[in-house]
Amino acid sequence: MMESIRKNKLAFLSLNILFVLYFLAIFADFIAPYPYDIQHRDAPYHPPTQIHFFDEKGNFHLRPFVYGYKMIDPINKYYEVDYSKKYPIYFFTAGESHYLFGIFKTDKHLFGVKDGKIFLLGSDNLGRDIFSRMLYGARISLSIGLIGVFLSFTIGTVIGGISGYFGGKVDNLIMRFSEILMSFPSFYLMLALRAVFPITLSSTEVFFMIVVILSFIGWAGLARVVRGMVLSIREQEYVLAAKSYGASSLRIILKHIIPNTYSYLLIAATLSIPGYILGESALSLLGLGIQEPYASWGNMLSSAMSYTAVSSYPWILAPGLAIFITILAFNILGDALRDALDPKLRRLIK
């Protein structure tokens, strides 16, 4: 399987992009020049600071630098480059202290400037560095996909497995319920479920609430597919063999039937992670998910809801680009996985 992904250049690239994204998320405190909640009150909606190697006179500098910016118009937050101020970029520089992996206390950051400000992707309405917040936000947006998929797939496979294996009334009941869940308009279901939880929750509670909501919506479709697969696997001879030597139903489901659905599950999981990322973003975008000052790609975009802000400060859309790239990578990877495992799958689903 890995072999065929390596052969598919696009899929291999996607896999690498995802590795990089997860790596960035894990080391966010170190890579981000600023903590997610540091506000530069004197620099709201600061435009992205370009990194220069050549100064305004065309002289080359080995150490890259950024120019200082002057606020020209404090009402419309309009800035101009101040060529008289140069701030060289230092690596492994001291900044705000943080706990790497939550254990090691350090004040080192991958890069930063002294005195001036470095906003690779500009700043938001409170003068917070968008690049730094995107790195912290990646932790939420990227992990919600994995945890959500894991939870709903566990529920989905177990319930689908039970439904397909036992059949009869149990099957009927489960299938009817999953039908209802699936035919529910998912956006409204998400809103209604969100209303079940109190509006004010701690940030960890919100995170798990979102996972629970999305998994509750997501398991049904999967359970139906697994059920169908179990129905066909159930009739195979090795299951009969297992039965004849007296294996229990649970053992047969867990040891013999579900492992046969793994390749399908892997593809389906890869292709459904984007749904969870989108679900989180949608909730946070509407102010119902991750709350400020914590960053998620979704809630960072909520300031873009005002079109005057979007038109004057287009860099606030950067988190949307991150969502797009992540989803694209997962889709390409899932597609490649499907192509790689397809022949076996076709036989199984038929």
Binding site: S183, L317, N331
Partner: protein, 328 residues
């Protein structure tokens, strides 16, 4: 056929009850209710509150409340909205029309482009044009709808080609009939493009893969061998056989006409069901939420039914199994 439709309808009714009951329970699960907001208001006396509880039957068990609501809902009496103090049906009528207008326009964009584009791509797999169509579909499948909406808003503000928000201009009332139509279309174009291109991306991919599969089958080879023109082979034979999955999808689309575009509506500020339902859920406006979901569930049933009927009409195999078989 009538018997078949009735049978399908009968099978779909439990779904309607299931959806509405589940939503009723979920909304009631939420802590507090709409009256909590009124209780905070010192101007509203205890007596008025008790009166309201009586009128809305909020002191009764959930099951009783649900059945009361259901019996009224069958008669299309959807109750009163707490927050707007007006009948739910009056409140959502305009919104539903706006949402339907948007989703149907975007649906038309998606379907009328997806079928020809998919066929073109399928006729010459891996050609330049096919690759281009595939790239397009993959990009827009991965582009989140809300992000696309933001980008389009940005574009709209910068160029001024599209209006930003609303379903018609402020001076709509003073326009002639023809101007009104143009104005409506102008306002719907931006959200319709966002939603339409989004669903076009998925549809094209599906049309392409189904058509490729059909074009490789033996009856196409036979039709070609018989000397039929390529046009006839593709449009009369392959396309007709490739249609089945799309009719099912069309059914889904009809089902989601009211809810599919909610998030985009909220972002683009389209006065449809999306914003109304968001407010209703958050303020726990029970009957308003239920009303929206009820109409949504009815759309679902209509969508499923239309898909079933079309499938039975177009595919003799299904007709034989489901319709004529049912009579025996």
């Amino acid at each position: 056929m009538i018997f078949y439709i009735l049978k399908r309808l009968y099978q779909l009714i439990p779904l309607l009850i299931g959806i509405t009951f589940l939503s009723f329970v979920i909304i009631q699960l939420a802590p507090g209710d709409y009256l909590d907001q009124l209780r905070m208001n010192p101007q509203i006396s205890e007596k008025t509150l008790n009166q309201m509880i009586k009128i809305y039957g909020l002191d009764q068990p959930i099951l009783v409340q649900y059945f009361k609501w259901l019996i009224n809902a069958i008669k299309f009496d959807l109750g009163y909205s707490f927050s707007y103090q007006m009948p739910v049906l009056d409140l959502i009528k305009d919104r539903i029309l706006n949402t339907l207008f948007l989703s149907i326009t975007s649906g038309v964009i998606a379907w009328f482009l997806a079928i020809p584009l998919g066929i073109i791509a399928a006729l010459k797999p891996n050609s330049l044009i096919d690759k281009f169509i595939q790239l397009f579909s993959f990009t827009f499948m991965s582009l989140p709808g809300f992000f696309f909406a933001f980008l389009m808003l940005f574009f709209a503000v910068k160029t001024g080609i599209f209006p930003t928000g609303g379903a018609y201009s402020p001076n709509y009332e003073s326009m002639t009939f023809f101007e009104k139509i143009v104005d409506r279309l102008w306002h719907v174009s931006l959200p319709a493009l966002v939603i339409g291109i989004g669903s076009l991306a998925g549809l094209v991919r599906l049309v392409r893969s189904t058509m490729i599969e059909q074009l490789q089958s033996e009856y196409v080879l036979f039709a070609r061998a018989k000397g039929l023109s390529e046009r006839e082979v593709v449009l009369k034979h392959a396309l007709k056989n490739a249609l089945n999955p799309f009719i099912t999808i069309l059914g889904f689309e009809i089902a989601s006409l009211l809810s599919g575009s909610a998030l985009i509506e909220i972002i683009i500020n389209w006065p449809g069901m999306g914003m109304l339902m968001l407010d209703a859920v958050l303020s726990q406006d029970l009957y308003l939420v239920m009303g929206g979901l009820y109409i949504g569930a009815i759309m679902l049933i209509i969508g499923n039914l239309i898909a079933d009927i079309l499938l039975a009409k177009l595919d003799p195999r299904i007709r034989q199994r489901e319709v004529e078989g049912a009579l025996k």
